[in-house]
Amino acid sequence: MDKLKHSALEIYREHRLDDMFLVYRGFISDELTSTFLDISENTVVDTLGLTKVNRKASFLLVECFQNMLKHTHSERIDVREHADALFHFRFHPDYFRINSINTISRSEEAGLREAVEEINALDADSLKALYKDRLVANELSDKGGAGLGLIEMARKSGQKLHYDFRPIDGDRSAFWQQITMAQNGYDAALDTLDDLERMHAKVESEDVVLIYKGDLSQKAILPLILLLEKNTDGNALLSKRAGITMIEMLQNASKHGLNRGVLKLYRVDRKMVIEVGNTLELAQGQALVERLEVLHNMSEDELKEAYRNHLRNVRNLEQQTNSGLGLMEIARLSGGAFDFDLQPEDGAGFFTFRVTL
């Protein structure tokens, strides 16, 4: 496998401590609020437990995302669908963090800066009072919400909002934002935007759509499919091929692995690349490698024939196995444009599977 700048294994190692890590750089719209909430809730409910802190994290996530949507500049002002934002959140043992980068009009920058600075200057009691005042007075900006979203973000996180404005051109600026809910004595006041800078540089240079590290069980897969479907440039056939391929790769990882792993979607030369990495027993990894090597050496016709033979002989398969039907499906849909790698990791193995469509 070609050495990638930021492979699934590197992502896994870099975010080893994170229960969940997600960065999304693609089309955003109202409907994705529930998608991100599903992803967050899967972690909160199954991994971290339904504590007050974790419930607050989900609330904060919704506020941040909705706030981002509200303030994103777009030519298409009559639809709430805006291109090319960055949205990130992670569950680290010491904090829950949300980052966003979105484009705003230059004309909005001063008002937004003032709103954030006002909020950052207030203590908890004053913020509560400001929230009530705004709610009662109904001072609506033309974006709606009276700045209530930003106030709630500060209140729920218990932290100042870290932010920056970066000019894009004469009409637009990028609004960089970071909210952190700290725990275990972590001091979020010392945070900077350095991590966001590094992440932004990486995802821009690799034209990343999505990086996800976390649970790869069935529940986790469904919202991830939706994020993929939003970013196939309206190409229905690509959307379907990519969707089926990604499902097979993730269900393969879930079946053979230890249920946690990495998904990375990115573009290379206008093609969509799906990369899945997961930990698994070395022996299982070796068996997967052997099967994939056989498939890799087959021609299109041989693959077709092998697939049909397997299908015709399903009666001979044990109940819980498809005996490689999924891997064959991936090989066929990708036209053989896939590669794979197995590395020792944590006393077991880390299997990476990459498909280009």
Binding site: K240, L311, V314, R315, L333
Partner: protein, 127 residues
Amino acid sequence: MLPEAYHIAATAETPAVTLDASAGVYRIEGRSLPENAHQFYQPFIDWFVQLLETPGRQLELELYLDYYNSSTGRYLMELMLALEERSNTSNVGILWKADADDDIMLEKGEEFRQLLKIPVQVKALES
């Protein structure tokens, strides 16, 4: 005696299923991605086996799937083989529907048509 009908709504990972012998409707429609396709599909396979214990029946199973995983593919094949095995005493067929621009699902329908001895009609639907 006819088996009791199934009327199951679609979910995010399983299709809508209508199996109603008294109404003559046999339809599976939507998206099929269950991790455990055996658990979802085996009851329907058993249902058809029970239905076709009585010879001389006539049925067409309509399949209109948006997309499905390989685990589903395996159990769709099992279901169709169960129908095929009983085709000497009953008149059974498959109507495989797909959107006209959905090359993937049209190809899948064609594959089943070539693999099975019972008639499989592949119908491309214009939008």
